[in-house]
Symmetry: C2
Subunit: 246 residues, 2 copies
């Protein structure tokens, strides 16, 4: 246990991380207040410190304030949303159409995170048969950004109802660079207690135990004690004394 | 500024998040000590609270302790490493071969994170023309897991020098489920101050300003104040009083 306590953060520091993890939300309602440069800089530096295959750091960040470009993005969103809505029927379709799914124009800024495979050259330490590894890395940067934003009181909403060809054209993205995540960023009146898609009845959070497998997909050897722990509120007591974390 | 201060974490809580972000490392040297169930449970719950498109939560976690399966994984790694090494020449190839790139057998457990597209049905809120969105979501879970592990004093190393067909076979992963991230997890003697690929001279951290674009790939309108902020150590003073964060 010595090794454990030597490198673990204090309960207070761990709380900072877990607060960000549990209170992060996908945000679609923004206040117009501008984001201060020091806050945005910290969030971007956090993104840049994500893990990356072969230390390739394949990400870039386009900071979008220009309203004309955002209007064009909004049009693409509307077209794609029509297509997405057509995949649902009846009450489900009604519910889909009732949801606000973006804050492209209301938020003070948008951020496009891109991925450039092969930026450091064709040979990459860690990229062999699994060819998507740089895209995975760029996604890790998005989660860092999202958590740092939450800690800074900034909401982030990922708009995936878009088209990459349109993103590339609107922001003059060079060939070979992949538009990965289009994010709306800004302050919010409040962060919802629960994910909006959960509170609006669109989907439920899956029980953690349903996602665990042991040594193979159907395996359950040695599962019992971890399954007990994952459902035990007591595992959070030291970090969130006297309250439930979620 | 009222909206800002209302939802931002205290400097102390933000520090917990940024400590995890800046001190997280890709780890290849592990202690054999077992990971306690409560610690592993917190890390997995953190992963499960990542963002996901349409709240699909497309991830699963295979907890791998079985040594026989890990030996087979190690063999696949050795084959893939040969291929990867062959892409480099001369001193670069020597340096590649000198690097320890995994801790598959030494770490007390391995974790396979998978992605199941379409788990909640064929129609997904947020999945239209950009078809990889669930894979992106599963990557976000990996970064949550990695940061929580760091806060708990646990090292994580992502082994991407593998083949998905071998992973699927060894862990009996069903068709349609994508093996996404194979992670070695365990306690460590110490977390290196800098990424190993940086300290060993494999690659350098890119200057953050080189990754920023304004309104379009070549755009620089309104860039100055953010570029100044991102290189100003003063933006970290409130969070890391009297020291540099990185």
């Amino acid at each position: 246990m010595a090794a454990k306590s030597a490198n673990a953060f204090s309960a207070a520091l761990r709380r900072g991380l877990y607060e960000a993890v549990f209170r992060r939300r996908d945000i679609r309602e923004f206040l117009p207040d501008p984001v201060a440069d020091d806050v945005l800089a910290r969030v971007l530096v956090a993104a840049h410190h994500a893990a990356s295959v072969g230390f390739t750091q394949p990400w870039d960040f386009v900071i979008v304030r220009d309203l004309e470009r955002r209007r064009r993005i909004k049009e693409v969103f509307e077209q794609e949303r029509e297509k997405n809505a057509a995949e649902f029927t009846g009450a489900r379709r009604e519910r889909y159409l009732s949801l606000k799914l973006e804050g492209i124009l209301e938020s003070p800024l948008n951020l496009l995170v891109t991925c450039t495979p092969g930026r450091s050259g064709p040979a990459i330490l860690g990229k062999v048969s699994i060819r998507e590894v740089e895209i995975y890395s760029a996604c890790l940067a998005v989660e860092n950004l999202w958590l740092a934003a939450r800690a800074e009181g900034l909401g982030v909403g990922w708009v995936s109802i878009l088209r990459n060809d349109a993103l590339a054209e609107i922001f003059a993205i060079p060939a070979g660079v992949i538009p990965l995540a289009y994010l709306c960023v800004g302050y919010v009146r409040e962060f919802p207690e629960r994910p909006v898609l959960e509170s609006k009845g669109w989907a439920e959070r899956l029980p953690p135990r349903s996602l665990l497998h042991f040594d193979s997909w159907q395996g359950a050897a040695g599962a019992d004690s971890l399954l007990r722990a994952i459902e035990d509120p007591g595992i959070w007591r030291e970090i969130f004394p006297g309250e439930s974390p979620k």
